[in-house]
């Protein structure tokens, strides 16, 4: 299977990839998530053999691919702009990789037909690719990448160029096709929703390293540090100082808070950041621990709930909670959090 080992690459003198390592297992779809400019596409091109890394190596079943040129790696790559050959029609585009394998014409024909079937474009064989819509081009690009039965499929922001509704629809289709083909896949995107929808396993790339990896729900429940929580927009982040261990207590501008912690907590006196998820605020005033009071500054009805912005004090001017019942703007409001629902995060950008 694919092993990526300590890949390094710089771009115009700045380090872009800083020792990226991960594995891809059989029939697994991993998703490489990161903000734009984080080097995701470069990493894909290095794996494909289109670009050379400055350090580290790419291995297939334990054997280095350093001396295998791109056209002999038998990896599929679907480009962000699809890169369909404008001088060839739909079926000729799909047949390209098969022709390179010198398959007999009959077999090429059958495989192109079945590929067109898979993407629900059976009637489009002789269309010009320049006449296709964005969504159709995307599907042809996928079929072209899959037709030669690659050992590994890489998809570089495959839905990036499409509009929102089409994106949701196609991401489901993509998921179905990837599952059917059982080909191990690396999916690159900067869109979290897309990543959550497609991935068996998620890798978060930031500052040239993999910040966190695991199944999608892990990122939600156990963000590794402040940056991860911020990137996924998990909720209110409030800074504080650790004042006691067992039970953990953190002094913040909201008062003394009792949080929980995934990792070994840092020493007393160290800085920490607390994550309060808006959905986990409870409106019952009896709850005395982790009680937060503030003035209702704004209220918006959203997706069946009330999104309320609280003004706590000068240091914490806006604190967001989602409640089931409306409140009055300008009124005082008290909410409370269970200690298990407040997560204490490290401030640093530690590596795995």
């Amino acid at each position: 299977m694919l092993t990526v080992k300590a890949i390094e690459k710089s771009y115009e003198g700045e380090p872009l990839l800083n020792g990226v390592s991960f594995d891809v297992h059989p029939s697994e779809t991993i998703c490489l998530l990161g903000p734009s400019g984080s080097g995701k596409s470069t990493l894909l091109r290095i794996i494909a053999g289109l670009e050379e890394s400055e350090g580290g190596e790419v291995l297939w079943n334990g054997r280095s691919l350093a001396d295998t040129p791109a056209h002999q790696r038998r990896f599929g790559l679907m480009f962000q702009d699809y890169a369909l050959f404008p001088h060839r029609n739909v079926s000729e585009n799909i047949a390209f990789g098969l022709r390179m394998q010198k398959l007999p014409p009959q077999e090429i024909q059958t495989r192109v037909d079945s590929a067109l079937e898979t993407i629900n474009m059976a009637g489009f064989a002789h269309r010009k690719v320049t006449e296709l819509s964005g969504g159709e081009q995307q599907r042809v690009a996928l079929a072209r990448a899959l037709a030669p039965n690659p050992r590994l499929l890489m998809l570089d922001e495959p839905l990036g160029a499409l509009d929102r509704t089409l994106r949701e629809q196609l991401s489901q289709e993509l998921r179905r096709i990837l599952h059917q083909s059982k080909v191990p896949a690396i999916y690159v995107t900067h869109d979290q929703e897309e990543a959550f929808a497609i991935a068996d396993r998620l890798l978060l790339l930031h500052h040239g390293v993999i910040l966190q990896s695991g199944p999608p729900h892990d990122f939600y429940h156990h963000p590794r540090n402040v940056w991860v929580a911020k990137f996924f927009g998990l909720g209110n982040l409030v800074k504080g100082t650790i004042v006691a261990h067992s039970p953990l207590q953190v002094k913040t501008h909201l008062g003394l808070i009792h949080p929980s912690c995934d990792q070994d907590p840092q020493p007393i006196g160290a800085e920490a950041t607390l994550l309060f998820r808006p959905t986990q605020a409870s409106q019952s005033p009896q709850e005395m621990k982790n009680r937060i009071t503030g003035r209702v500054f704004d209220q918006v009805f959203q997706n069946g709930r009330y999104h309320i912005t609280l003004q706590i004090n000068e240091q914490v001017p806006d604190f967001h909670v989602l409640l089931t019942h409306p409140v009055e703007i300008g009124a005082d409001l008290a909410v409370a959090y269970q200690p298990a629902d407040v997560l204490c995060l490290q401030n640093d950008f530690g590596e795995i």
Binding site: H71, R74, G76, F79, D81, A83, F85, H87, F96, T130
Partner: protein
């Protein structure tokens, strides 16, 4: 009065009427000065009053120049491809020291007058050129050993000089703008580098290679000055034959016949070119990544690049540098000088530009030719710019009449300058346009040659001004005239300047039509150069080279300014 005004206003609100208003003057100009002479040529061929019977025509005087024209054009184009395609590859893929300089150099032939180029090759390889003089001195030979002038090879070399850069520009542009992902996709799908080139790169380049080839073929087909000055009397293209028949043998019907044949051929080639040049634009995604040029990596790459750069430099620089140098060096005795000749650097040729040594009534001092040329160029600028702006605004209107009038306006591009000159002397042989009082026809002919280029520069620039800017100005309270002055004019200014320089250099270097229209005592610079360079005597030769050098400098300055003004990545053809 008020109702009249209202009606007028209502009319002007319709794009068709607005377009018609803008077209009025340019169309009248074209009809009178282009289509009328053209019709006269047709008329001359079919009218029996000249005692010219079409059916009894012996076809040899037509067939011979035609087959030679096609043959030399094919051969020149082939040679151009052989040198130009590697050049295009070089420019698209690599950065190397001197690339900027070479790039500016490649724009030079595009605008250099043919007489200058011919004089350049003459000063390098002609009987008085560097190579021959050097060999004669070295081996003590009595006669020039290299025979270059009046050979077929000379024509081919000059054509390659002219057109290689066109090929390089057209193809390297397409090459470097090709989406690099397409090649990556082919590689990932299992295509080896050679296969990728054959299956992806080459098919995608084909339209631009074809367009470049047709353009080069067209230029070779219509070549006049180069063939006349370097090929000598035994080589006659259609253009040269028209010139000879009309001016030396006074056989106007045959000349007209050849002109019409020439026009038909160039139109056919132009149509073909327009057809294929539209094919190259197949952008299917906005996120297209283009390839960045890079320095050479391997020794082999470096060797190939050095070889290519060196040959391009020699091809482009050698004739021009030798022209400039030769104009400052005295190597032979001038007529009338006795005894030892003082050899060495001299400004004599430049000083002599102001002197009419021969005392001949028809031969004016060369400096007068320069003065004439500048005056004609200024009038050309005036005519082309006013008409060009009108046409650009007419084309901006969303009206069906543009579909008919635009191609009609571009037709002078297909008609050769020789045809134009011939038509002029047939039609305008009486006042007010006879050449007797003032040769106004010369700048008019130059304007006709330059107008399509100027429109092709101004029209896209005008189209690129977003109408939201004009709307914003109007909402902010600007009157239509204020809108034009505050929005259009400043944004159009760079293109106007480029157009001015274009018109100026085209007029300065124009040779074909001018040969028909100049009076002996009123020559333009290229005509004077042609005259002096074909006279015997070292002084005449030196003067011709000195004048060519000056002309070259002015054109080089012009192209340098244009390069500066135009946005990078944009080309004018």
């Amino acid at each position: 009065m008020n109702t009249l005004r209202k009606t007028l206003f209502r009319w002007l609100k319709q794009p068709t009427w607005r377009a018609a208003l803008f077209w009025l003057l340019p169309a009248a100009f074209l009809v009178y000065f282009f289509y009328q002479p053209l019709l006269a040529l047709f008329n001359l061929v079919i009218s029996p009053t000249w005692g010219f019977d079409l059916s009894a025509l012996d076809l040899t005087p037509v067939w011979r120049p035609l087959s030679f024209t096609v043959g030399q054009a094919l051969l020149s184009t082939l040679l151009t491809l052989i040198i130009g395609l590697p050049g295009a590859w070089l420019f698209a893929h690599f950065t190397f020291p001197g690339k900027r300089t070479l790039k500016i150099l490649t724009t030079l032939p595009f605008i250099l007058p043919t007489v200058v180029v011919a004089a350049g090759f003459n000063s390098l390889l002609g009987p008085r050129g560097w190579v021959n003089l050097g060999l004669m001195a070295l081996f003590d030979l009595p006669t020039p050993p290299v025979r270059f002038l009046n050979t077929f090879g000379a024509i081919l070399v000059a054509h390659v000089f002219y057109n290689t850069t066109i090929m390089i520009r057209v193809v390297s542009n397409a090459w470097s703008q090709m989406n690099i992902r397409l090649r990556h996709a082919a590689q990932v799908l299992g295509a080896s580098p050679w296969r990728t080139f054959r299956e992806v790169t080459l098919p995608l380049l084909r339209p631009s290679i074809l367009a470049g080839t047709l353009l080069v073929f067209l230029f070779n087909f219509t070549s006049f000055g180069v063939v006349l000055m370097l090929g000598g009397p035994q080589f006659a293209t259609l253009e040269v034959e028209i010139y000879t028949q009309a001016l030396h043998l006074l056989n106007l019907p045959l000349a007209s016949m050849l002109s019409i044949l020439q026009l038909a051929c160039t139109l056919l080639i132009t149509l073909g070119h327009n057809r294929v040049s539209g094919l190259g634009e197949m952008v299917i995604s906005p996120a297209t990544r283009t390839m960045a040029a890079r320095p050479a990596r391997t020794t082999l790459e470096r060797a190939v690049i050095i070889l290519l750069v060196a040959s391009l430099f020699i091809l482009l620089v050698a004739p021009l540098a030798s022209l400039a140098l030769r104009s400052f060096v005295k190597l032979e005795p001038t007529r009338g000088e006795r005894g030892e000749v003082e050899r060495g650097l001299t400004l004599q040729f430049y000083r002599e530009l102001g002197v009419n040594r021969r005392g001949d009534l028809f031969f004016v001092p060369p400096i007068a030719a320069a003065r004439n040329s500048f005056m004609f160029a200024l009038i050309t600028i005036l005519i082309t710019l006013s008409l060009g702006i009108l046409v650009a605004y007419a084309l901006l209107q969303n009206s069906a009449i543009n579909k008919i009038l635009d191609p009609l306006m571009m037709l002078p591009l297909g008609a050769s300058a020789i045809t134009l000159g011939l038509g002029f002397i047939i039609v305008f042989n009486r006042p007010p346009f006879s050449t007797l009082r003032f040769p106004i026809l010369i700048p008019i002919a130059h304007a006709l040659v330059a107008l399509p280029f100027i429109v092709r520069t101004l029209s896209p620039a005008l189209r690129n001004i977003p109408s939201s800017l004009r709307n914003a100005a109007r909402v902010l309270g600007a009157s239509p005239f204020k809108v034009w002055r505050e929005v259009d004019l400043p944004l159009l200014a760079p293109s106007l300047l480029v157009s001015t320089i274009f018109a100026f250099t085209i007029s300065l270097g124009e040779f074909g039509a001018s040969t028909f229209l100049v009076r002996p005592d009123y020559p333009t610079m290229p005509v004077a150069i042609f005259r002096y360079i074909s006279q015997p005597g070292a002084l005449n030769y030196g003067q011709a080279l000195a004048m060519s050098t000056l002309l070259m400098l002015v054109c080089a300055l012009g192209i340098f300014l244009i390069e500066r003004l135009q946005k990078p990545g944009k080309d004018t053809f």
